[in-house]
């Protein structure tokens, strides 16, 4: 078919820059709220960029908390933590060194296959990083690496024909703190050919020097727009979204949820 006659549909993508920072319970609740509201047709396809304030840790849905994070260190240093609704591994979210994205989209077309959807969405991160001068590449299932070291990890869940994917971009994460907060099984480190978590990760600052957050978020928006062939427009969170997140936030503070495994 002639694409001039049948143009490729361009996805409309609402972008929310939510960078002032809020705590880990709120951020996880808001991500879940956006997914639930998207399944009900109450919000459009949305990309949200945000930060955790204070710095915090999240663990994957299937992880045993005592084996994924250093609870003693987190408690001693008042670093809050919670469990995500998405699988994957534990993450240290540094207020001043990491920006998180979350995106809600319909499961259709190239996003139908789970593995392919990770590749497509993560290519937004790859485009952004390359634009910033870091030779990034996607490593399945869910990592983006530069020089073989992880700079970004993503995790996805699906509900009623829609997906939520959220993930990190470490631009200046304090890797000393990261190493103290997270636990990686020896087997996992060995399989990556490293001896410590520190050896496995890298930040944007390590690669191209200091970059301001504005430049990074602009690159991310452009990167996701390109990856999804999306036309973006900027917006703010609505009262209804904030209300829904308020209803969900207690779940993420609940020890029964956090210590579920």
């Amino acid at each position: 078919m002639n694409s001039a006659v049948f143009p490729v549909l361009v996805l409309k993508l609402r972008v929310i820059l939510d960078l002032d920072g809020r705590d880990v319970y709120w951020q996880m609740a808001l991500d879940e709220a956006l997914l639930l509201m998207r399944t009900r047709g109450e919000v459009p396809n949305t990309l949200r960029l945000y930060r955790f304030k204070p710095s915090a840790v999240t663990i994957g849905y299937f992880q045993k908390i005592s084996e994924a994070v250093n609870l003693e260190f987190l408690n001693e240093n008042n670093i809050p933590y919670t469990r995500r609704i998405t699988g994957g591994g534990s993450v240290y979210h540094d207020t001043n060194g990491e920006v998180t994205y979350s995106i809600v989209l319909p499961v259709e077309g190239v996003l139908t296959d789970v593995l392919e959807s990770y590749r497509v969405i993560c290519s937004g991160l790859v485009h952004a990083l390359r634009k910033l001068g870091a030779p990034a590449e996607f490593i399945p299932v869910n990592d983006v690496v530069v020089y073989g070291r992880k700079i970004s990890g993503s995790a996805q869940t699906r509900r009623s024909g829609y997906l939520l994917q959220h993930g990190t971009l470490m631009y200046a994460t304090n890797l000393d703190v990261l190493e103290k907060t997270l636990i990686a099984p020896r087997e996992k480190l060995e399989s990556k050919g490293v001896k410590s978590i520190r050896e496995r990760v890298i930040t944007l600052r390590d690669i191209i020097g200091q970059v301001d957050l504005n430049t990074i978020t602009n690159s991310l928006v452009e990167g996701f727009s390109r990856a999804l062939n999306a036309e973006v427009y900027y917006d703010d969170l609505s009262e209804r979204e904030l209300n829904m997140a308020s209803e969900l936030v207690d779940k993420y503070r609940d020890y029964k949820w956090i210590f579920k495994r």
């Binding site: 045993k64 534990s90 789970v114 869940t157 495994r261």
Partner: protein, 97 residues
């Protein structure tokens, strides 16, 4: 009761924590790790189906719970065989004692 733990390295890491009774019945199992499952609750249903299993057939039936589940980062066939092996090892050591 006997507690057995096993770390399995696939693309992702899986830890099996299995609690076996004296007569080799699986009283509890937790499958944890940094893997992905769609839908996520299939793993909880699988754990629940494995509880009280004391035979290979029972475990094989339980794993049918994952038929419509996409699991990323885990070799499900190998995982199933590891659970069966734990059960069979228990039975062997029971017979030897």
């Amino acid at each position: 009761m006997k507690q057995v733990s096993l770390i399995l390295r696939y693309n992702k890491t899986v830890k099996l924590d299995v609690l076996l009774s004296e007569n080799c019945v699986i009283k509890d199992i937790i499958i944890s790790g940094d893997f992905f499952a769609y839908p996520e609750d299939a793993i909880e249903r699988l754990e629940s189906r494995i509880r009280e299993c004391s035979s290979r057939v029972c475990i094989e039936e339980a794993f049918k719970e994952l038929v419509n589940t996409t699991i990323l980062g885990v070799n499900v066939e190998d995982l199933k065989n590891r659970v069966i092996l734990l059960l069979e090892d228990c039975k062997k050591s029971q017979n030897n004692s």
